[in-house]
Symmetry: C2
Subunit: 428 residues, 2 copies
């Protein structure tokens, strides 16, 4: 019954949650792993700062090496975020035989392979369930639950901030700027929201999910990224009228062992289970060749949901410790990474065009689609209530990305088209 000693790097929102759960659920944790789990030392920026939980001040330190080089500490829980020195601390801890649990998506998306290799070398565990979709145990699901299946599609609402904004725009007909401001006041969006609204945060999470789902070393650069800051309330109105919701989706697809991974605002048919995921909630839809359609839904962030994932990882590490199998269950990325070209990436598209309101315009436009072999599912022309021009709405059948890009290029030189107002990928 020797206690397992944990060093906690960071005591912000999530770190506080970790302390709460380890202390509050201590009896349950002990019953499961067979020995006490003790948070031995906590790295903070300022020991003197007042905090929302009472912590023995002798446990706090401002010196990371008091934790990393402490031979009594078995496991490091990293919730300080960032990349530079955080990576250094983790690499050092691993080389000293300490196991690591981290919630750091940036680090795992950018340096995952290097960190996992170091862990292998030293027989250490690295668990990172909390790095994607907060409280949803999606990494376990991909790695263990679907180990026997071939996953062909992962679609995720993996950023709560942008889902809050888009849901609110959809439910209330509000504008992006107004909802963003409100989200910032509520603490759902950062004062600089770039990483969320431009899709970078989602891209990091999709890097992690597609690496695990496809068993191939996907890199952040492999993800094609488009943010949602240009989505207008009119776009959402059109989408709803046609039976769609606009969601910022991460989409990873596999076909014949070739992959494509992207993040973009997407029109999702209302009947699709992911279309009704609203607010700050996250959801990951997984399609497997054998299992078919599945979806996993839950809180994407927050003190306790994220801490739940971290402490569940901690339980796994401690169980491995008892069984003497740390570092022996890492996920192998045995598949060669082959990315699809734009010619091979296929999906449906929605286009909203503002055009001159005169004879023959629709013929010219449909002619260009035909030229690039893009066939159309539905076309609607109507007067634009706010302008003297007309609106044309097109939903294509499955078309390759390169062809759509060529169509859009051609549209630029077509003087009857005043503006290509919106272009969205369509799912469901």
């Amino acid at each position: 019954m020797k206690p397992v000693k944990v060093g906690l790097l960071g005591l912000g929102t999530v770190g506080t949650g970790v302390v709460r759960i380890v202390e509050g659920h201590q009896e349950d944790l002990q019953s499961q792993v067979g020995s006490p789990i003790v948070i031995e030392k906590i790295l903070v920026q300022n020991k003197a700062k007042s905090r929302s939980i009472s912590i023995d001040s002798s446990k706090l330190t401002e010196d990371p090496w008091e934790i990393i080089s402490n031979p009594d500490i078995d496991v490091i829980v990293e919730v300080m975020g960032g990349i530079g020195s955080t990576k250094e601390y983790i690499m050092e801890a691993l080389s000293r035989g300490k196991h690591v649990v981290t919630a750091n998506k940036d680090l795992m998306a950018l340096h995952g392979p290097e960190i996992l290799a170091k862990a292998q070398e030293h027989g250490c565990d690295v668990y990172y369930e909390a790095s994607v979709a907060g409280g949803i145990p999606i990494i376990r699901t991909l790695v263990e639950g679907f180990s026997s299946d071939r996953i062909t599609k992962i679609m995720g609402i993996v950023n709560g901030t942008t889902n809050y904004i888009l849901s609110k725009m959809s439910l209330e007909g509000a504008s992006y700027d107004d909802v963003l401001k409100e989200a910032q006041e509520l603490g759902y969006a950062e004062s600089d929201p770039t990483s969320d609204v431009e899709g970078l945060d989602a891209a990091r999470k999709m890097t992690i999910l597609s690496t695990l789902g496809f068993r191939a070393k996907v890199a952040l650069d492999d993800v094609s990224v488009q943010g949602m800051s240009k989505v207008t309330k009119d776009d959402i109105l059109y989408a709803k009228r046609l039976g769609y919701e606009v969601k910022l989706l991460g989409i990873a697809e596999r076909q014949d062992d070739q992959f494509s991974i992207s993040v973009q605002p997407t029109m999702v048919k209302k009947s699709h289970p992911i279309a009704s995921v609203n607010g700050v909630y996250n959801a990951v839809y997984v399609y497997g060749e054998a299992v078919g359609e599945t979806m996993f839904y839950g809180p994407g962030a927050g003190e306790l949901p994220t801490a739940t994932s971290i402490v569940s990882d901690l339980v796994a590490v401690v169980k491995n410790l008892k069984l003497g199998v740390n570092g022996k269950q890492s996920v192998l990325t045995y598949k060669e990474k082959k990315l699809k070209s734009d010619e091979q990436i296929s999906s449906k598209y929605f286009l909203l065009l503002h055009v001159d309101d005169r004879a023959g315009v629709l013929a010219q436009i449909t002619q260009i689609f035909a030229e690039y072999e893009v066939s159309l599912e539905s076309v609607l022309q109507q007067p634009n209530p706010n302008n003297p021009d007309a609106e044309i709405i097109v939903i294509t059948h499955d078309a390759n990305k390169a062809a759509i890009q060529k169509v859009l290029q051609k549209f630029e030189s077509l003087d009857v088209i005043r503006k290509v107002k919106s272009v969205y990928r369509v799912e469901g």
Copy 2:
């Protein structure tokens, strides 16, 4: 690279799926576990029967002992169903040191503790992910994903047949009898549908889920069961009008370490994520003290979805074999089982009453609710279009089950009430 040898008990729908996945995904499976997985022998009822897959006939046997007493076989995969001799085979296999993967909910719900104890005794694994909710890895989620949390509520649509029937009744306004007949023709319902429609199948699955979620030895008898064969299309119409869907829900709740587990047709608010789970799909909603609301959605049955769960379990067993840790990771049920009395079980209720259409009736009825301290959220009285009497619809606030039963008893002796048409638990 010595191959791991599997004995398959049963070659019906799911057994065929297991063969397909093990053969079709062999390369992926080998990459993960480091050695071939071979299906060595298959128990069938009739070797001569023609089958939808081609199998070397020397692998088939009609004698279970050719598998159970075969020293070369490492793992038994049981997909024959049933309890009597199936249990005997599994117990024998365990006592000979063979690990077991099973999809048998009846067996695990009734004899789980005995089987798991035998496995412990002989250092064997028993995995049974496929026994609940087919392709959804819900057992892993409860046991590992939420190991650090205290789960307080599990609500499941865990029977696809009844969800198909209720969804169809809701979408098409059809009657129970008509949809049941159609479901039988489509193969979604058995010719004797009792076990599904009377909630017994769901009760077995809730026994398994609540044992794992609450870490206590819940028995099938602890589940209070009410079927859905009496749900009428009118009930569903009323529910929809009030913003609810009727679902056959398994509900397991924990409060102050006291449990209640039940299966019953329930009115679920449309905004609740589980309300929009339709057709043969299953979903399990899990509420944890720390994580909050989560939901896991996917196919509840079918050849390949169920086989995915089985072969993923097989992968776990083989990984344990390689690490030498079989039988060392069983879930401990360390919590004492304390069941709530009817006085302690609380929920909202919907009641539809047919009453005499005369003065003072509503006063008499509301007086009885008041007498048993059941407070009302909403009350609607309206003429009954088909009868000379009137209808009263009541939705209560949270009320204890015993009080509602007393109210209903009192209603029986009240001559202004012609009939208590429907009573439903309400969620969301």
